[in-house]
Symmetry: D3
Subunit: 248 residues, 6 copies
């Protein structure tokens, strides 16, 4: 089984972090290919960054189709381009926010999210609403760490994250904590030990959900609103998407 | 990995059906043990049946704890005893309704449920509400088949199920169908082929989610409201639950 | 009119407390019979306790049917076995959480719940959701008192309850407080006086709602999903439920 | 106990119908006084009618306060002036829509409403939302009968109501039907017999809920947003409300 | 274009304040006529005040119809009589709470409301629910200022408002603040400058929405539940509403 | 006032249609500039088309900033890139789906949407949820017309739209209809006349809301989660977005 793990930002260090975490958690028969777009922002910390990064995610899915990927993971906590990506493939596509929320509800009745910057909290809230988990999440918290600090300034970032997770544990009445950034994929264990309650991280969660779906023989429904996009002309820089016929 | 799949009713034939489906879908390293309570109803078609069956489910979880099960599946579409079962163990516990709903939302934007008897539809609706999927489910449909007809009168039951699933496909605007009974675990493929859109079945979905959770090293949170029950006296027929110390 | 008030736990002292509160509030023509299961936990403080206690509740309803009860009250704040109990009878069945929530919304726009242990708060939240009162309840608070302390350690418990109720009054912006445990049935007046806003207690509320329903000539609908359960075999310890024909 | 049943419209025949239904259902110790405003519309079939009728309702509550009423029923299905009325008194005030919805949820998991004119359906929907019962109501149906036809053209109206209630029973998957107009208070039995499932009527439901609240010693909370209105000048035709000091 | 701005209370000073704010914001071709009822409360601080004031609002709409108004603004934050007023006219009718909420969601993802008295907070909450903005509003705050203090005690009131708005800015995680009283119409700029984030005031917002609707050629739908009320007798003080035929 | 109306697809004919509709509805002092991206799909009929088109929308907003636009309209019914666009400017940004929904709720209690292809219905549903209008919309209907048929096959498309709108009027119990595609901007009057109830079209609605916001002196909040994106490197084709400093 080949799972293509797409880091929607263009920071190679973070792709490596994510790829390693994915590889570590993958089952024996699973091959992980971690990729990142050739075009896009070095980190995703706003709706703008997210909108631009979605293009790269979609390119990577199309590349994955040529490469016979069996499943895709979108490894940014805003799940950029998720529904569009699903249209491009019969394979399952899993966002890491989505994955972490689903998994968290299976081991606790209520959870809190700890994310990087406060301004991205609204993205998590909108996803919670869309996925149905508004009431399972007690609170979206931010440690106020820029995403790349997770790479460049790891120790200080870890400390702040642990402190915020402990506040969630002590104040929110939750049974689990969801880490709100793909760049935290290598910190799960340390945070879990420091905080003492289950910590759900999205990259690893998504890999396992992708394996589960492939194992079930289930992929994105092509009946109805996730069917392949109607082929049509695109112009300018996006001409390469003209008359796209994924899956055919 | 040892997953204990608990059929909450006491019909051995259905336990076999469920166990076989679970075994077929399990990953190489996974051992499935399919069990059923020693005490309870032969089928679950009402809140009453469900309440009684929950006791058997809990006994089977306690037995599984002595047997070092790594995860549990509750294989009745009402998820009887789910939160109580979670209290008894650090291992993950997955209900098949829950599992099917989660999986269906990962491959479609909207799904319908096709269950056995109309009177059990409300059970599915309450679960959809509790799990957060009210708006992902377009409609809960019933084929009006008594549960044991799935065992005893398979061909006619299959025909009715396929007919109802086709109505769901044609009228509900959905991308996937969720089968609403553990006893349908062996019919998924046939229904899927006849209906032509993804059909999600709970037993198989739950096994894969259980594998995913064990693979992630995550189990039921013991912090907060799913902690082990406080040990205390029980009297009468339930004296055996006195001063229960699961996990210790 | 005969109202059977079922204490779902097996502590006789609490049954007495509940029975006395029910009797005190009952109308002249109403006879209260307070009962408790022969089998089950001495207190209900978890989903597990609740699941086991539901069996006893259902036995007591079946006994009540033989005894021509006109209505039933389930006197534990988790309303264990409520929908299953309704299936067994044409008579009304009222849970005390349900009763208290309904009554509280008739005298205030918003209320808070003060319950025993924090871990049971989720049970109240799930019920608020199912009954439709999520937004009428500002907060579910816990005084962190084990249930039996209400019996055995009454003064200290009362003090903690009053303190928590006062915090609800001062911080939550509510017009009423709901007491979240059947064992508080004898404390309503004292708490109400100490706190100075309406305090709604479930046992008394449920008795009056049961009287109201009987007075209206209304009982549990036997049309649709609360119809009598289909008779069927039960095995093992539950064989006595085989081919049950309540109401016939 | 003295319950003042206020017919918000000014049709004496309907006040009599309502008063008789209330009296028939009242408990031995309960005295019913049925009143109607001196000023207002002969029937209530729009938001406009309702807004004007609210003034009459409030006058009748103030009159009831001088008359030591123990509880109030607002006998129009839009519950006109309900929260304002509650501000004027420590006694309980119950709207008949509210009452019927509450009672219906105690005997069924889902109900439908059958009201008079389609244009008033939105009023019922807004109340269902505000009270929390949106999801307990499957459908708001209208028999398209002007309210006064219930008085003047009784047989034809009854026939249409029964036909609509039967459609609700057969198509909506409900366990109970709520009658959506105070003027139907004398038709409950006939409809119930013709339809064969529980029919909940608001006037009778409200009388019993009022008795229940008085029996519990509970009245409208004066703590918070239902406290007595701040006394102040009113001018013009409403000068009589100046410096109102209800309850003092 | 003629917009009739109705101050639902009877305090001329507040009508002047509101009228000036409306005039200042109106487009060149727009004529504002600010009116107030001849009958009613001097301020609106309770459900009771609001119910009485609705009559005056409706009279002013009827007067506006005779005066060929093109649109109406109801300038009290509870939007008293809004749906009833819509029934009386083909012209658009805009409430100021409604207007402010709509506008706030167009410039921010989340907002808080700062109103006068805590007891009126519930009115705002009910409107948020009815209009669909429950989740866009983080918090309804009160500065605990009686409405007329805005007129009579302006400096102190302004200071308290600014303080409360700053708390909203610092604690609520919002991008905008909604002022919750028509009497604040002249304070928007000062508050906005002191607080440093967008402050949305309802009177000005409603005038611009009314202009927008008139510009679009859109008015209140007369198809369905906002159609003109059915003409009928009214008695007593309200006889003048008998056989009303607005729009004809 | 300069409003930049952005057609997110790259079909010049549709840009013209939209621009003309916008110009016709604009107030005297308003200048409309209708633009379209240099890069992207010729029509938007899927999540994929929408994700790609968002880039073009954002480019057009950035271009508008250099051109001192006072407000922006995103003229595709999926509101592609809306929140990202808001981050890029202090000016108001209005999506046409959003605009149409807001306006429809001001003139009716319930509306239906009539859109082009069934597969895009889910996009409208997600927006209704996010904006808070889920319960104001009775139904999202599709006339099953490809978007460009509105340009190329106008008469047949118009006929199908009118037929679907009439079904909405007759079956859905609504007071208004929302047209679900920017390409319908020139059809509003014809449809409105044929259908006989208010028809709300998003381009025109958005222009008037944009004028309203500019008139109020209100723009996108730069406090909190819609603040300008943090400047940062972008690579590849998107390098031009590096260290973007909009508004500075």
């Amino acid at each position: 089984m080949h799972i293509r793990v797409i880091n929607p930002n263009t920071t190679a260090g973070m792709t490596a972090t994510i790829g390693e975490a994915a590889t570590r958690i993958a089952s024996p028969g699973t091959r992980i290919s971690a990729t990142q777009p050739a075009h896009g922002p070095v980190s995703i910390e706003s709706h703008f960054d997210e909108a631009i990064s979605a293009v790269g995610v979609l390119e990577e899915v199309l590349a994955g189709e040529r490469d016979d990927a069996d499943a895709y993971v979108i490894a940014c906590f805003g799940d950029p381009g998720l529904l569009a990506a699903r249209e491009l493939t019969r394979a399952p596509v899993i966002g890491i926010a989505e994955a972490a929320f689903h998994i968290a509800t299976l081991i606790s009745t209520r959870f809190s999210v700890v994310t990087t910057l406060g301004r991205t909290g609204i993205i998590a809230e909108h996803l919670l609403d869309q996925y149905g988990f508004r009431h399972h999440c007690r609170r979206v918290r931010a440690a106020e760490i820029p995403v790349l600090d997770l790479e460049e300034n790891g120790d200080a970032a870890l400390e702040r994250l642990i402190a915020e997770c402990r506040r969630a544990r002590d104040e929110d009445g939750v049974g689990a904590i969801v880490l709100g950034c793909g760049g935290m994929a290598d910190l799960t264990d340390e945070i879990g030990e420091a905080v003492g309650l289950p910590v759900v991280e999205g990259v690893t969660a998504a890999v396992k959900l992708a394996e589960a779906l492939v194992g079930l023989g289930l992929g994105t429904s092509k009946h109805g609103d996730l069917a392949y996009p109607r082929p049509k002309p695109f112009i300018g820089n996006f001409e390469r998407f003209s008359n796209l016929q994924p899956g055919r």
